[in-house]
């Protein structure tokens, strides 16, 4: 259509004028439309010559002052439609208000009264970046800040109260409470004076098998017995061990000649029939090292230092509920479309805008990033759809 061609030509000519072309140069590209374009372009050029109105500096200053002192009715509002935990109290702690310092919105978290201002300031920082490089940097900073906020929110306390139960439908809550999430593995990290020499293939120089994952579990029956004890709340007398020696690949992790060894072992039930892990873990670790000694004579003499991480430590130190490293038992009724709970396997939750990812979602557990990737895709899909 002729009008739309004229509209497009006008838009292009205006862009060209903005980059410094002259009126005649622009018109030369559209000889047949030149007569119609010329008055329009001349008008546009004339508009650019109009001296702009300037704001009265006294007014500008007065209004600034008025805004600075304007009383604001602060009503803490729920973010994403859900009032979550005690945001305000935590913000007070986080921002050092108790020390009487004046804070800016920079330290606010989602749900704080200051938070929208923070988002606005960030928006401006991105928008006003003088070049694409700086703009991208501002975007990265913004993304970092979101991560930092998430970490602070997660650190704020017990995972159970990240969201108040009253905001969730009962059947969802019931399903979440019924997730089996008790771990039965633990970890021993060792600093060694040298490489262990295994009975099966002796030698304490670096040999091919030192660079593999080493399993100490001689038979299926052995595993069965180990699990049987755990069923009744006792750590396995003879656990199955999974051993790696990272320094066999990267010797910069330890001083020359020294090594690091990680032992992952099963089964050590989170819930013990007798005693508790804080009392028990060191003596249990002694038993494990004695077991390794059976396969690698002289092993215990190599141990310079050890770190023992019980299922209870996994929960208390790393926030792994029940000490379960998979964020939920890997049983068939808790996998695939049933992970984390039936009906909510698509990374969404009953709360609009709240998504789940990590090992507790499909295809977790494990360390591979796929749940996060899938969740991000789901979020994008929903954003585009809405």
């Amino acid at each position: 259509m002729e009008t739309s061609r004229l509209t497009e030509a006008l838009a292009r000519c205006l862009d060209a004028l903005a980059t410094g072309q002259t009126l005649d140069e622009c018109l030369a590209a559209y000889p047949d439309l030149a007569a119609e374009l010329r008055p329009l372009l001349e008008t546009a050029l004339a508009l650019r010559q109009v001296p702009p109105p300037t704001i009265d500096p006294a007014f500008r200053q007065r209004l600034r002052e008025r805004l600075r002192t304007a009383p604001v009715r602060v009503r803490p509002r729920p973010l994403w439609g859900w009032p979550a935990v005690r945001w305000a109290a935590a913000a007070v702690l986080a921002t050092g208000l108790l020390a009487g310092t004046v804070v800016s919105s920079a330290e606010s978290l989602p749900g704080d009264p200051l938070y929208p201002t923070k988002l606005a300031v960030e928006e401006v920082q991105v928008a006003l970046a003088p070049d694409p490089y700086t703009r991208q940097e501002a975007r990265w900073r913004r993304a970092d800040e979101r991560l930092r906020e998430l970490t602070r929110l997660a650190d704020r306390g017990d995972a159970e109260h990240l969201v108040e139960a009253s905001h969730l439908p009962e059947e969802f809550l019931t399903a979440v409470r019924n997730i089996r999430m008790e771990g039965c593995s633990m970890k021993i990290n060792l600093a060694l004076d040298g490489l262990p020499s295994f009975r099966a293939l002796p030698g304490s120089t670096l040999l091919p098998h030192h660079r593999t994952t080493i399993h100490l579990c001689p038979s299926i029956d052995y595993i069965e017995r180990a699990w049987d004890e755990a069923k009744y709340g006792h750590p396995s007398t003879q656990p199955m061990l999974e051993i790696t020696i990272p320094t066999s690949y990267d010797d910069s992790l330890a001083p020359p000649g020294k090594h690091i060894m990680n032992i992952f072992l099963q089964y050590t039930p989170y819930r013990l029939r007798e005693g508790n892990w804080h009392q028990l873990k060191e003596s249990y670790a002694d038993r494990v090292l004695a077991l390794v000694e059976e396969y690698a004579p002289g092993f215990r003499n190599l141990v310079l230092h050890r770190q023992v991480i019980s299922p209870l430590d996994l929960e208390e130190t790393y926030g792994l509920t029940g000490g379960n490293i998979f964020h939920g038992e890997m049983a068939v009724d808790q996998l695939f479309f049933l992970r984390p709970v039936p009906g909510w396997a698509q990374y969404r939750t009953p709360l609009r805008g709240l998504y789940l990812c990590g090992s507790g979602t499909h295809p977790g557990g494990g360390v591979m990033g796929a749940p996060g990737y899938n969740a991000a895709r789901e979020i994008l899909r929903q954003r585009e759809g809405s």
């Binding site: 109009v50 209004l63 805004l67 304007a70 919105s105 920079a106 009264p113 988002l119 300031v121 928006e123």
Partner: protein
Amino acid sequence: MRAAQAGDAEAFAALYERYVDRLYRYIYYRVGNRTEAEDLTEQVFLKAWEAIRRYEERGVPFGAWLFRLAHNLVIDHYRTTRPTQSLEATGGPTPADPDRLLSLRLELADLQQALARLPEEQQAVIILRFLEGLSHQEVARLLGKSEGAVRVIQHRALAALARLLGGVRNRGNIEAH
């Protein structure tokens, strides 16, 4: 909490510094006199100050959000006050310089007079595109329209302005000779 509000105010003041000039100009072009422009600018910021908590839920850039506040306030302003405009009453902060009147240049008052006769969205496009120097894309974003739609509005608006201003400019021409 009071200290927190003070912190908030500091951040908001920074936003104010970024946007106040541009918003004031936008409003001035629309209402054509300083008193009303100042009054409406003040209202925009006071409203923004109160409503900033709602900002995040819209998911639009902050500048666009402020601009829409201003845009809506100007429309409300015309709804609640008489539709006649005091075109000649004030020349704005640019005094009428006799030399300029004789030149081919458009004066603010002439422009304002012509602008006032265009439909809402044409006014907005003219101001943002030619007086504020935004790109097609930026204007589209601010107005919540497609770039194609902005080009069409721009075309109509320039055609209308060319007609309206033609008289003024020709008169200027004659007087200059």
